[in-house]
């Protein structure tokens, strides 16, 4: 690897570990998880971990990952910046009169976070290793219940309750559905309308001249109204109420009433 000179005399096992980490970069659940894994290479109690050394390991790791042109999520870079800051504070003597927590406090807190995460991982493993219902111990297989009395109990869980509330309160978010209807002219509406206009259809006239007012304003509304009316007059033609003709493709569709002949 090109950046092998960055670090001094890596033992083969260390290198293997580092390479494994690089291959696994996607497997980490965030910077803290990665730090915890790196800390394992120090092979000491987490309480005695060298945060300075850990910061260096992390920074090297991030540098190598970046050198390999692997995209790192922002939080890894934020952690890198913070560790670089911590490292410089740990290495330099504190400025006289400096306010805020000391570098040691910050380092101790990081060590605490790592120890706590490790402890929770271990607790989780211990929890899952416990005897579990349905796996290691079992409930009565044939619960005996008398079938004589039937008390109806209405039941709901908190989850049901919260979902119901969420459903009501977010109904407005979904209003676009109802809204859309304002731009939709249904065939039923068109049929209703055309039936009323039937009496005014003497001679052949163009279907588009029958479109309702205000529906030509936007293309969406015009399309919807045209389609609805077209479907409606087809239906009326089928019922024998109107006659339709079209002289050629895309020519205006002409119609006239048929009934009163």
């Amino acid at each position: 690897m090109a950046q092998a000179d960055d670090w001094t005399k890596p033992s083969p096992s260390d290198r293997l570990a580092e390479e494994a980490l690089i291959i696994d970069v996607e497997g980490f659940e965030g910077p803290l998880d990665l730090l915890l894994n790196l800390s394992r290479t120090q092979k000491v109690d987490l309480r005695r971990i060298s945060v300075l050394q850990l910061a260096e390991q992390y920074l090297q790791f991030v540098n190598r990952v970046v050198a390999l042109r692997i995209e790192l999520a922002a939080d890894y870079l934020v952690m890198a910046a913070w560790l670089a800051y911590l490292k410089s504070r740990l290495l330099l003597p504190p400025e006289p009169g400096e306010a805020g927590p000391s570098a040691e406090d910050l380092a101790a807190h990081l060590a605490f976070q790592l120890e706590r995460l490790a402890a929770m991982r271990e607790a989780a493993a211990r929890l899952m290793a416990r005897d579990q219902r349905g796996r290691d111990f079992f409930v009565r297989g044939q619960p005996e219940v008398a079938t004589i009395r039937k008390a109806l109990r209405f039941d709901a869980s908190l989850l049901d309750l919260m979902r119901a509330y969420a459903r009501i309160r977010t109904r407005d978010d979904f209003r676009p559905y109802a809204f859309d209807r304002e731009h939709v002219f249904t065939m039923e509406q068109a049929l209703e309308r055309m039936r009323g206009l039937l009496g005014y259809m003497g001679a052949w006239s163009d279907l588009t001249s029958f479109l309702p007012q205000g529906w030509g304003a936007t293309p969406a509304r015009r399309r919807s109204a045209t389609a609805a009316h077209f479907a409606a007059v087809l239906e009326m033609a089928k019922r024998g109420q109107v006659e339709l003709k079209q002289t050629e493709i895309f020519a205006p569709l002409m119609m006239r009433a048929k009934g009163e002949v």
Binding site: E144, D155, A164
Partner: protein
Amino acid sequence: MDPVELSLFAAPPMGEQERMVEAILFASAEPVTLADLERRMPQGCDPTEAIEHLRRRYEGRGVRLVQIGPAFAFRTAPDLGHLMHQERIEPRKLSRAAIETLAIVAYHQPVTRAEIEEIRGVAVSRGTVDQLLELDWIRLGRRRMTPGRPVTFVVTETFLDHFGLESARDLPGLKELRAAGLLDSRPLPAIDPVLDDEDAAPSDQSELFEE
């Protein structure tokens, strides 16, 4: 079985075998046959004898080991059958109208019927409110000091108890619901406005919303 052959299998001691039969009969959903027991227990076991021991152990107890055809099972002692009646409770999910009304009372209490209707966008049927009152999940609160002095509804201790809440203020807000992933960001099919006036027909709506 030949005793010499038996010892080769090093069958567990009879006390252990009894425990095994006890656990198997307890957990099984069906009466268990001798052949079944033999199959499930370590080789060399003698379930017949273990059952005999167990049967005697449970003599006079609250449950008994009984034989049903070729199989065995635990059954409540017949003289205690009267204690089992209460067991039979049929849980039934609340209708959508009821759970929504309940949710509104919980989140907005004290709340008037008119306010519930405004939030739900539909009329609240009498039956819905009655049901919640009967369950003792809501009760009448103070009258609102507005014209008409309408009654308000609040949730009860029973409600808090049932839903494991310390107080109604512990209910999560919308933002928290969303953060917890409880808010579907996609519209539910149930949002169709045609269904909106389901209060009129709560019975057949109720199953629509059981996930």
